[in-house]
């Protein structure tokens, strides 16, 4: 356990700089880089376990996703009502949950691949990249990524799987909880989910 940690950390130091995204990368490059890391995590899932996957994914998710903006949209019109402290707490907790979700979900590998299909520029600062997630038996699922450019960087702001928008789902859930139960309850629920993922390493 200890030894594989050392090995992993050395590997991370070696691999990480070489695979970080250059500043001017377009939407497809950002998406493909992220998907490459996902596949890598899936292939190494057993050895790394949940924490190893989390550590590998954390910097990549933060870099390729615009988590603060996603968190902001996910709470809809309630954002303007929060204090600065609450906003920070929300973004931090939400970011942790986003990484945790990937670490939890991508925990095994059976020859899946991603295939990029197209890129569409909606305007100067927004793009959609259509990809397919191909299972070993040939079944495919559509993964569409919406990206937004802030300064020079393209970042993912939404993922639409087979027509279901992850951001819309989150927004419906979070605004419902905020309306019925309030801010503290939302934070608690997010933290419970993070705990659930880290404890329930599905094998």
């Amino acid at each position: 356990m200890f030894r594989s940690r050392i090995v992993f950390m050395v590997l991370a130091l070696v691999i990480l700089p070489a695979t970080s995204v250059a500043q001017q990368d377009g939407p497809i490059a950002v998406v493909e880089h992220f998907q490459d890391i996902l596949i890598e995590v899936m292939k190494n899932a057993r050895q790394w376990d949940y924490e190893g996957r989390y550590e590998r994914l954390a910097p990549v998710v933060r870099q390729t996703h615009d988590l603060p903006i996603i968190a902001r949209v996910a709470v809809g019109r309630y954002w303007g009502q929060f204090t600065e402290e609450q906003k920070k707490l929300l973004v931090d907790t939400f970011s942790e949950l986003s990484i945790a979700t990937y670490a939890f979900r991508f925990d095994s590998y059976s020859d899946q691949t991603f295939k990029t299909r197209s890129e569409e520029r909606l305007n100067n600062d927004q793009a959609v990249v259509q990809t397919l997630f191909v299972e070993s038996d040939g079944d495919t699922r559509r993964f569409d990524y919406m990206l937004r450019r802030t300064d020079e960087d393209w970042r993912i702001v939404n993922i639409i799987v087979d027509g279901v928008s992850d951001l819309a789902l989150k927004r419906a859930e979070y605004t419902s909880i905020l309306r019925r139960e309030g801010f503290d309850s939302l934070i608690t629920r997010l933290e419970e989910k993070i705990a659930q993922y880290s404890q329930q390493d599905s094998s």
């Binding site: 902001r72 949209v73 979700t101 939890f104 927004q126 959609v128 559509r142 919406m146 937004r148 702001v157 939404n158 087979d162 027509g163 279901v164 928008s165 951001l167 819309a168 789902l169 927004r171 419906a172 859930e173 979070y174 419902s176 909880i177 629920r189 997010l190 989910k193 659930q196």
Partner: protein
């Protein structure tokens, strides 16, 4: 959602009653003209949550154990054939709605698909049509009403049947009467086959239900949102107009 329901078999009175029910339900769908993007799509939320919980409890008690056992005991190729069989039984519904939506070309291809799978594919057990380039389509009467311009109307959670809307609910009896199984009169055939259809439909949801349990903060809202989005996706055949969250004011 081409679910196979246990059929309402029997002659005479029951079929007349069904026809009347169909007529009422189709006319109610005329109320489903809420414009897209309206704020409150769930005015019946309290009642819906009640039925949602009831469905979940019923599912955990009865359907889930049967479906899990079915998945464990039955080899994958057999389950695939069972699914193919029921998809084929439900395909007349797809063909009907192809034509109702003005998709004549797709209607002809889907007819060929149905004939091929029913004959060469041995009563639908084998999906030979896809292998020959005829892809499977997903159309139902709720989508047809959507294509004709009906908004979804309020979200509904139907007891035992699950998520629906005022527009989609009329599609349920239409799906039932377009299945060949509806016209078979021997209970000795319709009951076991219908029952297997329910198990097959439930078994296909095992992954999705598990996903909801794992991912959702609020399973009720999650299911509602995913259902409504999926319907829009299906009505637009995979190319829905994209709502832009980022038009909203950012300081």
């Amino acid at each position: 959602m081409n679910e196979q329901l246990p059929p309402i078999h029997g002659q005479g009175m029951q079929k007349v009653a069904l026809a009347i029910f169909l007529a009422i339900v189709v006319s109610i769908s005329g109320c489903a003209t809420t414009p897209q993007g309206e704020q409150n799509v769930d005015p019946f939320e309290t009642v819906n949550r009640g039925f949602f919980q009831f469905n979940r409890d019923f599912d955990r008690a009865f359907l889930e154990p049967v479906a899990d056992a079915y998945v464990e005991v039955t080899p994958r190729p057999v389950r695939a054939s069972v699914s193919n069989f029921f998809d084929n039984l439900g395909y007349l519904n797809v063909i009907l709605n192809d034509f109702l939506q003005g998709k004549a070309r797709q209607g002809f291809w889907d007819t060929s698909r149905f004939v091929l799978n029913s004959t060469v594919g041995l009563a639908g057990l084998f999906d030979v049509a896809t292998a020959m380039g005829l892809e499977e389509h997903n159309e139902d009467f709720g989508q047809t009403l959507g294509v004709w311009g009906a908004g979804s109307g309020p979200y509904l959670v139907l007891p035992l049947l699950g998520p629906s809307t005022v527009r989609d609910a009329p599609g349920i009896p239409v799906t039932a009467v377009t299945s060949p199984l509806f016209y078979v009169d021997q209970a000795a055939v319709t009951v076991p086959v219908g029952g297997l259809g329910v198990v097959d439909a439930r078994a296909r949801q095992v992954g999705a239900f598990q996903f909801i349990e794992e991912a959702a903060l609020d399973p009720y809202v999650f299911t509602r949102e995913a259902y409504l989005q999926r319907r829009i996706f299906l009505i637009y055949d995979g190319n829905p107009p994209r709502p832009d969250f980022f038009e909203e004011e950012f300081e």
